[in-house]
């Protein structure tokens, strides 16, 4: 599943006094099997961009190709495209509606017209993936805790078995343990199911730990793109647009300035800890 965006522009409330240019000439390619992190300041256009990937928003100019197919060319293909590209919205728990957890998660597969057996299999595997146990299947989704609701909502998208999974800040508002669990699940799925994952996040730590490519968006334009090593080396550019590198990278930099012999371009907790330890041993 390769994704390609060509000169994509989007303006909200086009033609009125409240017109707001949210995307400006976006050009990018995402290869099959990539784990891409999308970062940018609040209001930079991340959510707008990801909603274009399954044709929930249409570009006002430009094209989006998935596996070479222009997704806005044929309306009758929309459903197929939306089941290929699964999108988990910001605060997805606000979309829960059905009487039970099980029924809610089966909404997607049902819409895809699957048979009862297949629905059951998919719902159960999706709920298992996000760590919801069978004793919760018959509960009302509204009785669950915030974190559990979030998991059920994510399972609702996973049950569609998308080939591309787009997550818009899936860990926002969760406790540290909950966010690690959910993100580790995503990582596992990426490795296990060989799917393409696009992760929108404000946490540089999470991005540094998980992805193999980073896209940086600012004011509706892609300003940087590359591997985490490349991106996190450009501290000045990141700070200029209201972002930062990881806490660990800052610590490494400060220690380096204090005379520690640490390599450049280290930014994840584990790597920095190892480097500091071996430096201390060497002293």
């Amino acid at each position: 599943m390769s994704i390609e965006l060509k000169d994509v522009c989007h303006t909200y409330s086009k033609g009125s006094t409240f017109a707001k240019n949210a995307l400006n000439n976006i050009n990018l390619t995402i290869e099959s099997g990539d784990f891409v992190g999308l970062i940018g300041h609040t209001g930079s256009g991340k959510s707008t961009l990801v909603q274009h990937l399954n044709a929930l928003l249409k570009p006002h100019s430009g094209h989006i190709f998935i596996d070479g197919e222009d997704i806005n060319a044929d309306k009758s293909r929309l459903k197929a495209i939306r089941s290929k590209v699964g999108l988990v919205f910001q605060y997805p728990e606000h979309q829960l509606f059905d009487m039970t957890v099980y029924k809610d998660v089966s909404f997607g597969p049902k819409n895809a017209g699957l048979s009862g057996e297949e629905i059951k299999e998919r719902v159960e595997s999706a709920l298992t993936m996000v760590g919801i146990m069978p004793d919760m299947y018959e509960k009302s989704p509204f009785e669950l805790s915030g974190g559990q609701k979030r998991r059920v909502a994510i399972a609702g998208v996973l049950a569609m078995r998308p080939e591309v999974l787009v997550l818009d800040e899936p860990a926002a508002g969760l406790d540290p343990r909950g966010r690690d669990e959910i993100l580790n699940q995503v990582k596992k799925m990426h490795e296990g199911l060989q799917i393409t994952v696009i992760l929108v996040s404000h946490s540089m730590e999470d991005i540094a730990r998980l992805v193999n490519r980073i896209l940086v968006i600012n004011k509706g334009e892609i300003v940087l793109s590359g591997t985490p090593t490349e991106i996190f080396a450009q501290i000045e550019q990141l700070e200029a647009i209201g972002l930062s590198t990881t806490q660990s990278a800052y610590i490494a930099r400060d220690l380096r300035n204090k005379g520690f012999n640490l390599p450049e371009n280290i930014f994840t907790v584990d790597v920095v800890v190892d480097a500091v330890l071996s430096e201390l041993q060497a002293r």
């Binding site: 399954n54 929930l56 459903k79 089941s83 606000h94 979309q95 509606f97 909404f107």
Partner: protein, 272 residues
């Protein structure tokens, strides 16, 4: 996806925008009553001149105004058609099969359509140039005398303010939920009426839940800022009649008087 222009505010700085909301509300009401009283060409011509002047002064683009009209276009046509066919009259224009169109019917239809259009333009000018908050303040002002007989004027006005304030929020929310369900393959457009109604469940349940959640949050937020209703409450923005409001009031009075006098003269000499 969802465009609502009726009841929308158009931010601009014009004479009409600056008028006291109470005066604007009064004038709009007077205008509506006026439209339904006049029944001759002269009255309509005057009303037309009046409304065009107001639009010009208000700086609201005509395109913006007409877009709001589009939504009620069908109601106008429907009313006109009903009037054409169901007005009894003598001067037959067309008589074919079961259809019988009379001159009176045509005139009646034209009059009704004109009235409706002017009514809607008149009230949209009010909402386009007055923020919802100002408008409810004005309504509260007019409801105040009813407090004596136990009508909770302040509470009604506050409820209206909140309702108006939350329309865009709810529309936004609905848009978001709709997209989220569409991402799961929901289909809101095709199918028969039963299927369509059922497809609304995944939309309406989350919408209601979020509306209730918002209501609770808002109530808590208001209480924690010591809101306790009308008693002893003062305003941050006092409404004050300015000289321009009196000027407008006088102009309106003269205008209405003129129409009635002209009307009288016209009737006297049998014109129109």
């Amino acid at each position: 996806m969802l465009k609502v222009t009726i009841g929308q505010y158009y931010p601009a700085d014009s004479f009409i925008h600056r008028l006291d909301p109470r005066m604007k509300l009064f004038c709009t009401m007077a205008f509506i009553v006026f439209i339904f009283f006049v029944n001759n060409f002269l009255g309509y011509a005057m009303a037309f001149v009046f409304i065009v002047t107001v639009i010009a002064v208000s700086k609201v683009p005509i395109k913006f105004l007409l877009r709001g009209l589009r939504a009620i276009f069908f109601i106008v046509i429907f009313t006109a058609v009903l009037n054409i066919f169901f007005t009894a009259g003598e001067t037959v224009v067309l008589d074919w099969w079961i259809f019988r169109i009379t001159l009176e019917g045509l005139l009646n239809a034209g009059r009704m359509a004109l009235r409706l259009v002017m009514l809607i333009i008149g009230s949209s000018i009010l909402t386009l140039t007055t923020t919802p908050i100002q408008l409810t303040d004005a309504i509260e002002f007019y409801l105040k005398p009813l407090k004596k007989i136990g009508v909770p004027a302040h509470e009604i006005a506050m409820m209206m303010t909140i309702a108006l304030r939350f329309i865009p929020t709810l529309i936004e929310e609905m848009d978001k939920i709709m997209k989220a369900q569409m991402a799961r393959g929901a289909d809101f457009d095709t199918g028969g009426i039963v299927k369509k109604a059922r497809s609304l469940v995944p939309l309406l349940v989350p919408l209601f839940i979020s509306a209730f959640r918002r209501a609770e949050d808002l109530a808590l937020a208001m209480e924690s800022r010591c809101y306790r209703g009308d008693v002893g409450r003062t305003r941050m923005k006092q409404m004050r009649f300015a000289s321009r409001d009196f000027a407008v009031f006088c102009v309106i009075l003269v205008f209405v008087a003129m129409v009635f006098v002209l009307n009288y003269i016209a009737a006297l000499y049998g014109i129109w």
